[in-house]
Symmetry: C2
Subunit: 342 residues, 2 copies
């Protein structure tokens, strides 16, 4: 490419000019890479669940029409971003060419997964999606995609099955940020500790030197699951939407916590998380159901001097950290394997 | 009171039992205080704007009916929480009795303002609101209110007019958290630097030792205002909802920032704030218009390793810090005085 490249991929934005690739209507997916880009030979798209559902409903479950619709989106937009749901997904593939100035440390031949959304990834499909039956969001295909200097991709490990690695990478921001925040000797509470991001966060807290990990689950069935994981020191069964009960039970289990990690996608957990946390402690909100105002006003309403973090999905090294936990903690690996099998 | 008291005021909750005072339908506003409580002789309620507007509209601007409605709410609920808007407001008054175990350090005779909402403050009115004309949200009255151990109240300083102090206290969380986060030598960007919380945050950043403060405003008129405040080193005029333009201009002005403070109540500023911040830096979101998912996904989409904080309205000492800035920075005081006069 003759144009100067931007680490954010601004040089690939065709319409409208000046916006980020994710906000763009159309990207330039040309295969020639800039010195800081990487070209990937794509073998599979993993469409976002909301996007796939919309496509299926809009086309009456007709595989040919669904296939045609996806092909049309990619050909028109230069990326797989469903114009109705605005969502994308991710892809797996093999590194074909890595520019000399790319900071991603990828080498030709490595099998990778993108951890940034398809909504901002330049993409071309060359096989007409003929290997896809249109019946699931897993799209086997041939084509190429472009990674920018500030894209995020992870090498798929050879010692783990691909679906397992993908499931781990999907939630790897939570354990990575937990690991960064938890100090040696801390009391850590994990709301939703029997889930994917919750169990990894509990394992990360333990690895980071937590003195006590309290796992919070909504019912006896999840408590059993958590007991089998042998990840936490104390199990609290409580409705996380009831602040007083939750905080009382967490205190009885050895809290309040220095760090509380919210890993359940249920609205209304802000107050309970705040109240279960020590003055001077930290709440990490990983749930996309978190309401910003409820958190800000909730803390003020109980004079809680707590640091509240928006769970950033990106922490350098997050995929490696999470995959390391999966290798090192057999019970968590087992939990993921059962969830993936479903 | 014979019951054991709770620092959160749980012992004052009558219906439904077990919830926080803010979530309660009815509180017990009895004047007898527990050892860790404080009783305040109330002289003025400052109703939340949304609540007052609802009352006025529901009662066709009839002052007698509005007065009767407010009296009825307080008599029924033991607190001034509008059941339609769920909002409250704050109050001013004089400390009448301070329990021996109260941690609030208040002395009888001190004039104070509550910095926690009326929605969780036990309240009784004894004068039938006869001094209130019902024509504004400022309600002169007589009665008493109860503060819990974990309530927040600030002594109204004698050297400043009350309306000025109240306006400052209303936004005092922003400069306090800014002051805590900004390190000596930091580059700080303040989005909405010509506003109340923005100008105080810029002054706090300067006081905390920022090497450079970049003020971001949407237009030339606010840039003029900011120039007159002489608070910032660089002024950037940009639409904060346009990430690429904002980040480019902030960079040209000496950024990206180590700390970006978002002080404008406009949706869609998450991406611009993230992109204007250095890798490893911090974004503090003080705008109630912040969208949690937009912040979390926005950072991931550009591989931004930034710490994102939910702006907690409570930081110990926040009112004193902000009032100190008002006394020490005449231009900010002047800005507040003009806003209060409007």
């Amino acid at each position: 490419m003759s144009r100067a490249s931007s680490p954010l991929g601004l040089h690939r934005v065709l319409e409208p000019p000046g916006v980020l690739p994710q906000a763009a209507w159309r990207l330039d997916p040309s295969p020639a890479i800039a010195p800081d880009e990487v070209r990937v030979r794509v073998d599979r798209l993993n469409l976002d669940a909301a996007s796939y559902r919309q496509l299926r409903e809009a086309h009456g479950d007709d595989p040919d029409k669904i296939r045609a619709a996806v092909l049309d989106i990619i050909a028109t937009r230069g990326k797989m971003q469903n114009p109705v749901t605005n969502s994308g997904g991710m892809l797996t593939g093999t590194v074909e060419e890595s520019g000399p100035d790319s900071p991603l440390s990828l080498k030709p031949g490595q099998r990778i997964a993108t951890l940034v959304s398809l909504t901002l990834t330049p993409l071309t499909i060359t096989d007409g999606l003929r290997s896809w039956d249109g019946k699931s969001e897993q799209v086997p295909c041939r084509g190429h995609a472009i990674l920018f200097a500030r894209s995020i991709a992870a090498v798929l490990p050879e010692d783990l099955p691909v679906p397992l690695s993908l499931a781990v990478m999907d939630v790897c921001g939570a354990p990575a940020l937990t690991s960064r925040i938890v100090k040696n000797g801390a009391v850590v509470a994990v709301i939703g500790a029997a889930g994917k991001s919750g169990s990894l966060s509990a394992a990360a807290a333990r690895q980071a030197g937590a003195a006590k990990v309290i796992g919070i689950v909504p019912n006896e069935a999840e408590a059993d699951l958590l007991r089998n994981l042998a990840l936490v020191d104390e199990i609290v069964i409580a409705d996380a939407r009831d602040p007083v009960t939750l905080a009382t039970k967490v205190e009885a289990a050895g809290g309040p916590a220095d760090v509380t990690v919210v890993c359940v996608d249920v609205p209304g957990c802000e107050g309970g998380a705040i109240l279960s946390t020590k003055q001077g402690g930290t709440v990490i909100f990983f749930s996309m159901a978190t309401n910003f105002a409820a958190a800000a006003l909730g803390a003020e309403g109980v004079a809680a001097d707590v640091t509240m973090l928006v769970g950033n999905g990106y922490v350098p090294g997050h995929a490696d950290l999470a995959l390391g936990l999966i290798r090192g903690v057999p019970s968590v690996r087992n939990l993921f394997e059962r969830r993936v099998a479903k």
